[in-house]
């Protein structure tokens, strides 16, 4: 939505995402601040930012699959795991550069996601959710039960650091720049996809699949593509995760994590890329606060025992998400859009 009095003068300018000089300035400042972050803030904050950026890639993928195409997906962490394992195995066994392992991780996750996308052609809603949960368990089962020389079994896999021209991405801040670059490309690409013919086809299938069919949109293929793209993002995020933690294990990619990704896009707002980013920010901040406050509480009320406090923290996190769903079911982006449109026509009510 343009500010009052600003009108696009060409169809090309009408498609722009950054529409005014102030928006461009804000974007440049934001990106500039992020780039300078390793020199401005402590390592702890950088570690949090790293986690946020990786989550952002995965949540944006889920936003395309669930928010845009309407295909419920509770297997995003499994798709992330497939990407993480692919990158780890390629990096540790073949020594391939991260420039290749990251896209290959995306592709292998996309293939895995596509298989589950094919089922979406036949089933919807609740049943689809159950099927995508199967992706979680299939992933777990495969990793734990295949020979441990293949996927590391329950021991996991140690990952060599990403390396480019002799520069090793070991420190938090060097990894920050790797994550920053990949996240920027992936998020920009997501903006491209959702405002292309594919994004429109996704929305068409989500809103009314009967009408989408008569528009010449192959509904089944579009649903499968949504999973393919969403899983590709998860795979890329998984590869970044592998290079960040330098170790992958099966319990890093559970149903629990999948549900948090869904919570992120709900809190931020379904059907909006920026919403996914905001959701990642909010949920990660809450998780960080809980991780910081939790031990302190455990210390001060030691008679309760640490276990109860940590379990309680998860209840708090779940409660915050539930509160969001009750008070702001359409997400923070929706609230922001209402604010923007009322500011635009201020002082008139409508």
């Amino acid at each position: 939505m343009d500010p009052s009095g600003v009108f696009p003068t060409s169809y090309r300018s009408d498609r722009r995402i950054v529409r005014t000089r102030w928006q461009a300035l804000a974007l440049v400042l934001f990106m500039g601040l992020l780039l300078a972050a390793p020199y401005l803030v402590s390592g702890r904050i950088i570690a949090i930012l790293n986690m946020m950026m990786i989550s952002a890639v995965i949540a944006v993928g889920l936003q395309i699959c669930t928010g845009y195409a309407g295909q419920i997906n509770l297997g995003q962490a499994a798709f992330m795991g497939v990407g993480a394992y692919t990158a780890s195995i390629l990096a540790s066994k073949t020594g391939l550069t991260f420039l290749l392992t990251i896209p290959l991780a995306g592709l292998s996750a996309a293939l895995f996601g596509f298989l589950f996308g094919l089922t979406a052609a036949r089933i919807k809603g609740f049943y689809l959710a159950l099927t995508t949960i199967a992706a979680q368990f299939l992933f777990h089962f495969a990793v734990l039960n295949l020979p441990s020389t293949w996927l590391g079994g329950s021991n996991g896999i140690t990952v060599p650091p990403a390396e480019l021209f002799g520069l090793r991405f070991v420190s938090e801040s060097s990894q920050f720049y790797l994550n920053f670059a990949v996240t920027t490309i992936m998020v920009a690409g997501a903006f491209g996809i959702v405002r292309s013919r594919f994004g429109r086809a996704f929305v068409a299938v989500r809103d009314d699949d009967v009408a989408a069919g008569i528009m010449g949109i192959n509904v089944a293929a579009t649903k499968a593509n949504a999973f393919l793209i969403g899983a590709f993002y998860a795979g890329v995020g998984g590869a970044l995760w592998a290079y960040l933690i330098r170790f992958v294990g099966v319990d890093q990619f559970t149903l629990f994590h999948s549900i948090f990704f869904v919570a992120m896009i709900i809190v931020g707002g379904m059907g909006s890329i920026v919403g996914a980013l905001i959701g990642v920010f909010i949920i990660r901040i809450i998780q960080e606060i809980i991780a910081t406050v939790g031990p302190n509480i455990a210390d001060s009320v030691s008679f309760l025992g640490g276990d109860i406090v940590f379990a309680g923290m998860n209840v708090v996190l779940g409660g915050v998400i539930a509160l969001f769903m009750i008070l702001e079911p359409k997400g923070l982006m929706h609230r922001w859009n209402i604010l923007k449109s009322s500011y635009r026509i201020w002082p008139f009510p409508h």
């Binding site: 060409s10 169809y11 090309r12 009408d14 498609r15 690409g189 903006f191 491209g192 996809i193 292309s196 013919r197 594919f198 994004g199 429109r200 086809a201 929305v203 068409a204 809103d207 009314d208 009967v210 009408a211 989408a212 069919g213 008569i214 528009m215 010449g216 949109i217 192959n218 509904v219 593509n225 793209i229």
Partner: protein, 259 residues
Amino acid sequence: MTTNNGHVSSPLAVRGATLKFGGVTALDDVSISVADDELLAIIGPNGAGKTSLLNVTAGFYRPQKGRVELSGQDVTGLRVDQIARRGLARTFQGTHLFAGQTVVENIMIGRHMLMKSNVIQAFFQFGPVMREETEHREAAEEIIDFLEIEAIRNRPVGTLGYGLRKRVDLGRALAQEPSILLMDEPMAGMNSEEKEDLARFILDVREARKIPVVLVEHDMGVVMDLADRIVVLDFGRVIAEGTPEEIQNDPAVIKAYLG
């Protein structure tokens, strides 16, 4: 148009279509054929099988017997989107618009099947995609001009009145650049002013696009004024076929409507 075996083929022909739902026969050996640049109206009492016939034609239902041909090509049993890509567009009774999307976005969805860019091009948004988007946006804007809905182009369709929504529905079908247009009860639920507007647009579409239009309609006034030819269905069978004058005086039609 002629096919390779020399028969004159029509833009749309249904041949001997029979459609049953359990024990109910919705269509019983129905054959219709539409001539180039013709407005064919399909009428009949409630439950006569008009909408079933449209659904068979558009590929929503597969007839147990019979064939559907588009320009002589057999399309029976193809998916809805495959039939749409062969040039058939339809509007719905009520509307099946994408309510949360704006008018422009709805019409652009109609252009989807005419656009060629792949997902990698879309990801990077370089030259060809931008050009394609602009080209198709221009085509969409032409339709918006044509239907006189410029003022509402950025409004979400869900906030529009029924008459305007019907117009957007027509625009979205036109955006597909169809070679035949099916309309399912476009006038239902409209006041006479809205009906007049839409009737004018239907005539304009025929003028501008030179495509045949198949109209399923209850409003006799509209049908008699617009149609070149009328097919009357009753209990899933064709009971009469002819010009509006012939139909008005057909004893079988009068019997079907008045009992």
